[in-house]
Amino acid sequence: MSDQTGPPPATPAPVPPPDPGAALSLRGLWKRFGQKIAVAGVDLDVPAGSFFGLVGPNGAGKTTSLSMATGLLRPDFGTVHVHGTDLWAQPDRAKATLGVLPDGVRLFDRLTGAQLLTYAGLLRGLDRPTVAERTEDLLRAMDLVGDRDTFVVDYSAGMTKKIGLASAMIHAPRVLVLDEPFEAVDPVSAANIRDILHAYVEDGGTVVVSSHVMDLVQRMCSHVAIIAGGHVLAAGTVADVRGAQSLEDRFVDLVGGRRESEGLAWLRSSSASS
């Protein structure tokens, strides 16, 4: 935290009103769980048509923020606007334009892959021919055609991520919010998914992803926000945020916590001593 350009400039005193043009506009989001304040006043604008990366250390409040931004978790304070619609005042309208891949939740895994996509499509109010057509397209795009009739409970971790991602996209949302979408996904599938997401952004969609992998975010995203301790430390285009440094170095500078490695000496000697 010794960096001069740390938290103070990133949190200007007057917070502008929600940006109706932004795909996602968060203002003053707070969430407390018991004694622990998970999110302490997050303000964030995700410009429409951006590929937005949300990075932060473990426990920074990424998942909590994204849950509040997608209607899964009611904030203690603050507002969320999706393309100008107040999510918590008009959840039905706002949720219709959102596609969500939450992290750490189950799927209805006694359904087959094709059934799960059909279920998600029908819940979104699509008609049967549309659902059938998009199910086929998504299964092909996710390389799951051969596993369409396998129960999701028997899918591997990566396949489960992919089918979850597919069910988030079936209603052609304007904004996709994906929490850790590449976790456990093999490199080939990840590259395919990135292509799909890039094409989606080029056609005017907005993607928000959270990730631990700085390299990936630096290469993939147009915009980035660094979040730690429940605050947004920096936000903007990837070029603005990282400056001359790599995103990873910039992140470590902002978040702090690197220590000179000398500890765990016993770990190195354990094989010799035992």
Binding site: T70, G71, L72, L73, R74, P91, D92, K95, A96, L98, V100, P102, G104, V105, R106, L107, F108, D109, R110, L111, T112, A114, Q115, T118, Y119, A120, L122, L123, R124, G125, D127, R128, V131, D149, T150, F151, V153, D154, S167, A168
Partner: protein, 532 residues
Amino acid sequence: MVAQLVRLKLTLLANTFRRSVWQTIGLVVGSLYGLGVLVLVLVAAVAGGAADPVVTGQVITLLGALVVLAWWVVPVFAFGVDATLDPRRFVTFAIPRRTLLTGLALAGLVSVPAAVTTLAALGVSLAWWRQPAALVAGLVGGVLATALCVVGSRATTTALAPLLDSRRYREVLTVVAVVPLLLIGPAFGWLADGVEVTVGGSGADALGEVVGPLAQVAGWTPLGAPWALASAAGEGAWALLVARLAISLATVALAWWVWDRALARELVTPRGGGTAAEGKGLGWFARLPATPTGAVAARAATYWLRDPRYAASVAMVPLLPLVLLAVGLSNGAGGGLFLVMAPLAAWILGFGISNDVGYDNTAFALHVATGTPGRVDRWGRVLPVLAGGAPLCLAFALVGCAVAGRWDALPALLGLTCGVLGASLGISSAVSARLVYPVPKPGESPFKSPQGAAMATMLAQMAAMGIVLAVSLPSLALALPAILLPQPALGWAALVVGLLTGVGVLLLGVRWGARTYDRRLPELLQQVMAFG
């Protein structure tokens, strides 16, 4: 390590107090109830011991054998075994299995039923407070009996777990287990007949005559042997004492060995292994209307047929005719009892969805993310049960009337059944949007009861059952005299009132549930996420 496992169990128990008020209330109520039972048992033992040690010893042996049997069998079919300390969690810690087993066994004593059983098993030896030798034998027997309960229940559940995980085997096992239960009734009837013929004397003698031979047999079985130690010592039958002690020790050792073997196998066999099953096409999704409500109904129907947790909750329904047949034959009530079948089935079916969001677990996030409205969610869950349950209940009602030879009771019976089905579905829809309690997670054995859930579950279910009973009272008040007196005119009134109650409560319950659901959708999700 053993002490650490026990401490872990205590810590987990203490943490449930911090997590949920309802679980705390449940635990307190459960403890008070257990304490009441305990005091009752102790007073009865001491008083009985003072009056007639022989008969008291026989009664203790019989009841004790039943308690052990309950410990062994009930977790397999009903509540499941307390899975707070799931042995799988310790796989990576390289704990010697002997230590793990000892620790799990001792930690298994940390629960309300186990504590009550332990204290009662030790306490009943007070019946012999005037005979020190018998008292000591009773204490030893109490320890052995407790060990038999705890280790035996672990042994049966662990050994049967692989079988119980697959639905087909479980259905077979349920039938196999129900058959001896069915025989209990006729057995008692047969015994009572025998006693009446031979004695016909005074009450106490008759009791002794019934209990005596039964206790004699039970004392030699592994279930009753530890409870009969004190009796043997009290009568000075030392050879008998040694024999029963040997039986008890051998049984505990055998149960321990079975548990050890089963656990060793379970720890190296990942759950859900076996061949990946394949579904065919879209199933119900292709058959039901392509609307959100139709989709929820299709999903629910798929789960009713494919998820063993649902099957377990309604496993009783197809067995109802068998059970009633046995009871009816044994106590001479005859076919009349079959009239109960339809309302009972309606009640069980309606209750199947009383914790549906809990069964979804965090998969429910899909409904939240898609903003599925409460009306859609509630009706989608009700409709499959209604569509499958109504014809089944109708068939049960017709069969019931036919077997009982009471076609005149049909209107009243139909009214009552409709009322109960509608009411339990409606109340379930309303309650499940408000009260969510932990159940086995998707893919887990339906016979594991999650940590700290038993009491909360029972309270929630009791509350819902109470409401269902309350709203069914009008149709019950008309149907009972109509059937029992019999009074056909009242029967038609019961039909009308029952239909009105069923439809009315269903509509109101679903509407109330939908409104609650819409208001607290994210909170509902957070509740199931807190189950972990």
